[in-house]
């Protein structure tokens, strides 16, 4: 076994890395340009050019530079690129991955997959064919993918006798198009990939052009933007407990973080302080981390947080809502309609969602957009302006403020089928309550006993068990049974009947203001749950419909768990929000035990019974 250790800095000869995607309409010469770039810089593997030339000769085909990277037999037979290829290119101290994307519209999903990895793009246009629909669609997609570093290459100048006026016409048309996407190309370069003009060498055929060659232009792109100076965003990827300590794992998408920083978790609104930053084979252990790094954190206290939450620091916190507006490109086979459900993935959060409105579908050709009727469809490869509503509130940013937490994908069936950037938050019904609750949580004054310690002491987590359903189904009776059974087991359980708030806490509420009464109820529930209690309650006293009342209560006690038990007399459909359903139970003690079993299953009741733990006070 060999090991090595010297003090030289590895990779000293590489200054930085950049991924560049080559896009443009089919047959405009992307693969040829790539082949030329390698051939003329002498960076092809030895013998590769000769090998391809020999194969072409043997098969009686004309040699194509494109064959160097169109690896699949089918690609060579049909002369088209099917899927993107990563090729590695080192030049002037920079390591590039050049990504050759397909131009055929059938393979748009592959083009998007390639371009999404890139920090800059070369967009090719055939001088003879001019600007095509796909040239524009690719430009539009680049802007949605957030790629603003673009150099336009007008190729096949040999077919138009290297004429300046032809070049200028294409240049003007495409510059005009890009300007409407707020993109200014770095350069517009006339070239012939086949003849090698202006790829690596300028050549003598276009003396009227004085700008850089394609190779020279690469250096003008900057490498990945450093997002360290932006607000901290660290989506939690996982929580590990390999040893005694619990490590939160994730990658900083922006900002920086130091040991001792106070963190806010969204959407749970929890807070904690960074105790350590964990790392393997790093000595001494790191004390800070910055954008782009995959890290592990331990906290000063054991708070329960999960994958999907976004870690940030005050005052730059993300938005929280169920609903937002977005520009979406759709790659799925099944068209999207208003009402279509699929899975939303934003950073590490996954939640079911629904398209609630299709506002406009963008015509790539002229960027015009038509306002859509209610039965509009977003078809494969369309770009549309839509509203998305998730089943639960999530944390996000506007794309303009924070890229990585401002974009999302939709998964339809098994596949990622579309991507979007968030252009606006839409206030949902609970927005006012949620905003109030967030402010209250951030400012919450805590004692020295943590939530986790309380849970360990009582043998259960705090939770709200809410009984819902029509009148006279025994909700109150069951609530009382539950309280008795739980307390008999030694649990810290309490029956909170909304009726008890009416004459006291709600005495000053005017005209039966249902919203205000719910708010006060929710705040009381939140307080009692902070004591670690299992609250049992009904919605009998609220004049709101069950689902509105539930949403409001859930928002106020968030992120504490809520178990909704639906009671009815007949076997009609239960509301979607119900976790458990009982139809006309006769044996209420048995029903109460069924609820207990559910609480064990969902992890609320941890110890078998609520025997006091060895909680000790240290002074």
């Amino acid at each position: 076994m060999a090991t090595c250790k010297t003090d030289t800095q590895a990779g000293a000869s590489v200054r930085d890395r950049l991924n560049i995607v080559i896009v443009g309409s089919v047959d405009h010469g992307k693969s040829t340009l790539l082949g030329r770039l390698y051939a003329d810089t002498g960076t092809l593997p030895e013998g590769k050019l000769e090998k391809i030339q020999a194969i072409c000769k043997q098969q009686g085909k004309a040699f194509e530079y494109a064959f160097l990277f169109d690896a699949f037999l089918e690609e060579q037979q049909q002369g088209v690129t099917i899927d993107t290829a990563r090729t590695f290119f080192q030049w002037a101290g920079r390591q590039y991955i050049l990504i050759d994307a397909p131009g055929h519209k059938e393979f748009l999903k592959n083009m998007v997959s390639g371009a999404a990895r890139a920090g800059a793009a070369l967009l090719l246009i055939d001088a003879l064919e001019g600007v095509r629909e796909q040239s524009k669609r690719h430009g539009l997609l680049l802007s949605l993918l957030g790629i603003t570093q673009v150099t336009v290459v007008v190729n096949k100048m040999d077919l138009v006798e290297y004429r300046q006026d032809t070049f200028r016409a294409v240049e003007t048309e495409y510059r005009d198009f890009l300007s409407r996407l707020n993109v200014t190309p770095r350069f517009v370069i006339p070239c012939s990939a086949r003849q090698g003009d202006n790829i690596v060498h300028a050549g003598a055929r276009m003396p009227w052009y004085t700008g850089p060659t394609v190779l020279e232009s690469l250096d003008n792109f900057s490498s990945e933007v450093d997002k360290t100076e932006q607000p901290l965003r660290l989506p939690i990827q996982d929580v590990y407990k390999f040893d005694a300590c619990r490590i939160l794992a994730g990658r900083l998408t922006s900002g920086r973080l130091r040991v001792g920083d106070e963190l806010i978790f969204s959407p749970s609104n929890k807070t904690a302080v960074v105790r350590t930053i964990e790392a393997f084979n790093v000595d001494p252990p790191p004390t800070q981390a910055r954008a782009g790094q995959s890290v592990g954190l331990t906290l000063n206290e054991q708070i329960f947080v999960e994958r999907g939450e976004i870690i940030c620091r005050a005052p730059s916190i993300p938005l929280v809502s169920t609903t937002f507006r977005a520009n979406l490109f759709w790659l799925g086979r099944r068209p999207l309609a208003t009402g279509t459900s699929c899975l939303l993935r934003l950073a590490t959060r996954e939640v079911e969602c629904r398209v609630t409105a299709i506002h406009r579908i963008v015509d790539a050709n002229d960027l015009s957009s038509e306002t859509q009727t209610a039965d509009a469809l977003v078809r494969q490869n369309d770009v549309a302006d839509i509203t998305v509503q998730a089943r639960a509130p999530l944390a996000f940013d506007l794309y303009a403020d924070c890229e990585d937490t401002g974009r999302f994908v939709l998964v339809d069936g098994y596949d990622v089928s579309g991507g979007g950037i968030i252009t606006g938050m839409i206030q949902d019904r609970e927005d006012t309550l949620r905003t109030g609750a967030r402010q209250r949580d951030f400012a919450w004054v805590r004692g020295n006993v943590t939530t986790e310690e309380r849970a360990a002491h009582y043998g259960h987590h705090a939770a709200l068990i809410l009984l819902i359903g029509p009148d006279a189904t025994g909700k109150t009776f069951l609530a009382k049974q539950l309280e008795s059974v739980l307390v008999a087991e030694g649990r810290h359980a309490y029956l909170l009947d909304p009726e008890n708030l009416r004459r006291g806490l709600d005495a000053d509420v005017r005209n039966g203001d249902a919203g205000e009464m719910i708010r006060r109820y929710g705040e009381v529930a939140r307080l009692l749950m902070d004591t670690g209690a299992l609250l049992i309650s009904t919605t009998n006293s609220f004049t709101l419909e069950d689902d509105r009342a539930l949403d409001a209560i859930r928002t106020l006690v968030h992120p504490a768990p809520m178990l909704t038990v639906y009671m009815s007399r007949d076997t009609g459909p239960a509301p979607a929000a119900a976790d458990l359903c009982f139809t006309g139970p006769e044996d209420f003690t048995a029903t109460a035990h069924d609820v207990l079993a559910a609480l064990k299953r969902n992890g609320t009741l941890t110890d078998a019974t609520g025997t006091p733990s060895g909680f000790q006070v240290s002074i």
Partner: protein, 265 residues
């Protein structure tokens, strides 16, 4: 930021996604430089732990030093090592003289298939790199394989913004490729940077040859080289234009495209 750290951060992210999403996950380890870097990255991602088994598809034709090294690291790093072998094909006398592609298919592709069937893995982590050969250049980070292990390269799912394909129909599995963006030079730079133990078959020990790529003894040939340290390897690679797998016989002609379509690594 150091370019190696950038590569590391991204690979670690991919490994953590894999661990999170796949209940039945395993990593292939051939003891070569790439899969050993991959193993090291897993230890990075999981803070010294490797929370899934490592599979070695043993063709029985490996160089003995490789097996020794394998068992030693497995012990020292407390690895859950699983060795699979297509014993039936070996009993029937399969070897490279029956044809290289045939031999690779039987002992590697089918050896892996047997292991996957037996254990029912739904996610397999592999150390393939895009710069190794041209069909690998077209891989996704998370690449689906169908019931027969086949790769449908004509119709790969979209992959963007670090949102990978993590759901799939029953009886299919996903190949996970955390090293796609690494080059051969990056691998050596990283081995040097992190001081990762590697097989000294990669070094010239005085006879003017070394292995650049390790496979089965009969089908892998050493190259002429004077490089006897990692910095010398890096220097040599920076100067060369010869493809890495030039010493691997199965890459001839369209061998690799056919092998990989059918589930070869």
């Amino acid at each position: 930021m150091n370019h190696l750290r950038q590569l590391e951060d991204h690979s670690v992210y991919i490994l953590r996604e894999a661990y999170r999403h796949f209940d039945n996950l395993a990593m292939l380890w051939s003891m070569g430089k790439d899969s050993t870097v991959l193993l090291w990255l897993a230890r990075k991602a999981f803070f010294g732990h490797v929370p899934f088994p490592l599979l070695h598809v043993d063709t029985s034709y490996k160089i003995p030093a490789m097996i020794e090294y394998r068992d030693r690291l497995a012990r020292e790093w407390r690895l859950d090592l699983i060795v699979g072998q297509n014993t039936q094909a070996l009993a029937a006398g399969m070897n490279h003289e029956r044809g290289r592609v045939e031999c690779c298919t039987a002992l590697k592709t089918n050896g892996l298939k047997l292991l996957l069937e037996e254990k029912g893995y739904t996610g397999i982590i592999l150390g393939v790199r895009a710069d190794e050969e041209s069909t690998r250049a077209k891989e996704r980070y998370f690449s689906p394989r169908d019931k027969n292990n086949d790769w449908d390269f004509r119709d790969q799912p979209p992959e963007l913004w670090n949102q990978f394909k993590t759901s799939f129909p029953p009886d299919t599995h996903i190949r996970i490729h955390p090293l796609l963006d690494w080059t051969e030079i990056n691998i050596w730079e990283y081995i040097h940077f992190e001081n990762i133990p590697f097989l000294d078959l990669y070094l010239n020990k005085g006879n003017g040859t070394r292995y650049r790529s390790l496979g089965c003894a009969p089908c892998t040939f050493p190259i002429q080289s004077t490089a006897s340290t990692v910095p010398e390897i890096i220097e040599e690679l920076r100067a060369t234009n010869v493809a890495e797998r030039a010493g691997r016989a199965q890459d001839e002609g369209r061998g690799m495209e056919m092998l990989r379509k059918d589930g070869y690594m």
